[in-house]
């Protein structure tokens, strides 16, 4: 029997939903407002919400001091590149684990996940040395490889979960019809797994976009993405909150827009298989 949802109950859920949503969104809204304030207004108590002298000065300063487009292009190349490369490696890996599991598949999955438990700084020196010796320091290629490796366990895990939901019989049927392995993955598996692949892609682009340890430490100028640009505006001695907010808004704007347009796929992908 279908459950009936009363209007009151709907109202309560709507209010709770909005409250949670607004709470989560508030820091971004505050950063947005601060980016239009002067440094004096940014620290004023009580803080002014909307009624202050709106200024674009901070954006002009950031634009003047930093090459925003170079950083933005680096962010795009690094996040898209590392995600694409990751998918290229992870799709076959997840396919084999989901459809032809062995005794050790679970252990391998756990082992892959365990690499995420090591704090990144633990491998800082070895990776720096490898980068130094291979000439990858401050290159997009280097960052694409490192971020791909960092996110690979998550990509494999997510894809594995989605692939497991797909009945193996369909693939078997394709094989019976004479499909080769490549055709089976491209024409049968991939179309069915599109929501899963899409949400994995989006989530990993966001993770790579926000990654601020390796992208800051392994770059100087040429390959420095937006995370490195933000790091320029923080200071323990001096209040540059408005400028920092302006730099942050510029850095998150592209990913925010992308997230906004693809939220349907993201939600669908993230909740895929969660409720049965």
């Amino acid at each position: 029997m279908a459950r009936t949802v009363t209007t009151n109950r709907k109202l309560v859920f709507t209010v709770i939903g909005w409250a949670i949503g607004l709470t989560l969104f508030f820091p971004i809204l505050w950063t947005f407002l601060t980016s239009f304030k002067t440094e004096g207004e940014a620290i004023a108590t009580p803080p002014s919400f909307l009624f202050f002298d709106w200024t674009l000065e901070n954006y002009l300063t950031v634009n003047d001091r930093s090459d925003y487009f170079r950083h933005a292009i680096n962010s795009v190349v690094i996040s898209l590149g590392s995600t694409a490369l990751g998918l290229l490696v992870a799709i076959p890996a997840a396919w084999s684990m989901a459809f032809t599991p062995t005794k050790r598949t679970k252990d391998i999955l756990m082992w892959m996940l365990s690499t995420k438990m090591l704090p990144a700084v633990g491998v800082l020196v070895p990776i720096t040395l490898i980068f130094r010796d291979t000439g990858l320091m401050d290159t997009r290629t280097g960052l694409v490889i490192v971020l791909m490796l960092m996110n690979l366990p998550i990509i494999v895990w997510m894809l594995f979960t989605y692939f497991k939901e797909i009945p193996g019989e369909i693939l078997e049927a394709a094989r019976m019809d004479g499909a080769t392995l490549g055709k089976e993955i491209i024409y049968v598996l991939a179309p069915m797994a599109v929501p899963g692949i899409a949400s994995t892609l989006l989530l990993n682009i966001i993770l790579a976009w926000n990654e601020a340890f390796w992208t800051v430490l392994l770059t100087t100028n040429n390959a420095a993405p937006l995370t490195a640009m933000i790091a320029q505006y923080s200071s323990p001695e001096g209040l540059f909150w408005s400028k920092l907010s302006a730099a942050s808004m510029l850095a998150i704007a592209p990913i925010l827009v992308m997230g906004w347009f693809s939220q349907k796929q993201l939600v669908r992908g993230l909740t895929f298989g969660a409720v049965k």
């Binding site: 620290i43 800082l124 100087t220 100028n221």
Partner: protein
């Protein structure tokens, strides 16, 4: 466009790119502060005079910079040709052979550098980094509140006076707190302030045999007075306040006194940022009558990592950026008040600078009052006023800072905090082989 014009333009572009390719590019890692940002803007003057050198800047937040340059220099990564480093790093790195000694010609006038700053950058008689800007700490106070309290701030106050003034200025109902001090844990946060305060109380980090001294009476008196002062007259939640938090409190009129870096003087007197810009007075950091004041000494310096292939060009840039001519250039472009302070005697002798920067005299006196080679009342085996220039100090300083911050928050007692600090410092010093 005719063919010949196109070919001509293409040829010109090729020549230009070849010329650019021929220029040596210096990559400079630096911190995000006003003086460094200004230097980036003025770099054109250097590259015009040296067309064969190109300059590329990498600006970072202080802690990120420290992590990046330390990794780079320890692994000989070679990402940077010039690094902006603090007075803490210079003695350690120079002893490790990580820095190139600097040599300047007579026109640079090395003897013009302030001795307190220069001493901290010299190892075995050689200068390993050139100071770009220097700072000490001092008392900044609200002249109006002081007057209302019926008190007059002496030029060189004692801790007893500070306590008396803090009590008189506190008006918790109106959210005005007599004193704001650093409470956030960290070797460069609360420990910078507390190590300097301890110096004035006759305490020291280590005795001459490297034994930690937190079990002595001097440290107990320091921490007890600090905690009492802050719990009675300080702002709520002070254990998470660092420089920026206190700056915001002072600028919005919530602090009667604030003892912190001299660089803050230009912020709190700037009417665009500060609500109390015209009501700020300055005094030397307090003392306890034992011959040492509680002011620290810090400088941001430019150094060349060993292994840089562009040592000559890097040296040329450092000589330019830390020269008297650079000070003149800043003055002509942005006014004398914006010249980087705290490095050269000649700047403080300049009447134009004295007029433009009302806090100049106090800054110079504060810097001169600090002695990095002899910071405490009793002799010590280390260099550094508010730090100990050994590699282990960052870890030890932060761990002790956490104990002291907890004491301020009231989650442990002063005695417990000191006892734990003594134990953990002793353990680390034994591990480091300083004591057996």
């Amino acid at each position: 466009m005719t063919h010949s014009k196109t070919i001509g333009l293409a040829f010109g572009a090729l020549l230009a790119s070849t010329a650019l390719a021929g220029a040596e590019t210096l990559t400079i890692a630096t911190v995000n502060n006003g003086d460094m940002i200004r230097m980036q803007k003025l770099t054109g003057a250097f590259t015009e005079a040296n067309p064969d050198i190109d300059v590329e800047w990498v600006t970072m937040e202080e802690n990120v910079l420290r992590q990046k340059v330390t990794t780079d220099i320890a692994t000989k990564g070679g990402q940077y040709d010039i690094m902006t480093i603090g007075t803490y790093e210079v003695p350690i790195w120079s002893k490790q052979g990580w820095l190139v000694p600097l040599e300047f010609d007579d026109s640079y006038d090395v003897d013009d550098l302030l001795p307190a700053i220069r001493d901290g950058l010299t190892t075995d008689g050689e200068l390993y980094a050139a100071p770009f800007y220097g700072e000490s700490s001092m008392v900044m106070y609200r002249t109006d509140l002081m007057e209302e309290a019926g008190l007059e701030m002496p030029d060189a106050p004692t801790w007893d006076f500070i306590k008396q003034a803090a009590e008189a200025m506190t008006d918790k109902e109106n959210e005005v707190y007599g004193i704001c001090l650093r409470g956030k844990a960290g070797w460069g946060e609360n420990m910078a302030f507390l190590s300097a305060m301890a110096n004035s109380y006759g305490a020291r980090w280590f005795d001459e045999e490297w034994n930690p001294q937190f079990d002595g009476e001097a440290w107990k008196a320091t921490l007890t007075d600090y905690v009492d002062l802050m719990q009675n007259y300080g702002p709520p939640g002070a254990s998470s306040n660092g420089f920026n938090e206190n700056l915001a409190l002072f600028q919005t009129g919530k602090c009667g006194m604030w003892i912190d870096a001299t660089v803050a003087a230009s912020f709190v007197t700037n009417p665009d940022e500060s609500q109390v810009a015209d009501k700020v007075g300055f005094a030397l950091a307090p003392d306890k009558g034992l011959g040492k004041r509680s002011n620290w000494l810090w400088a941001w310096n430019l150094g060349i990592p060993a292994g840089s292939a562009k040592t000559e060009a890097a040296q040329k840039f450092i000589a330019w950026a830390t020269s008297k001519d650079y000070a003149e250039l800043v003055a002509s472009e942005e006014g004398w008040a914006n010249v980087p302070p705290g490095t050269r005697k000649s700047l403080y002798e300049n009447p134009e600078y004295q007029e433009a920067a009302p806090f100049a005299e106090m800054t110079l006196e504060s810097i001169n009052a600090a002695d990095p080679t002899n910071p405490a009342v009793d002799p010590v085996p280390y260099v550094g006023v508010q730090f100990v220039a050994i590699p282990e100090f960052q870890g030890i300083g932060t761990a002790v800072g956490q104990q002291f911050s907890a004491a301020l928050a009231g989650s442990v007692s002063v005695d417990q905090a000191l006892q734990t600090s003594q134990m953990l410092t002793q353990r680390e010093m034994m591990k480091g082989g300083y004591i057996k």
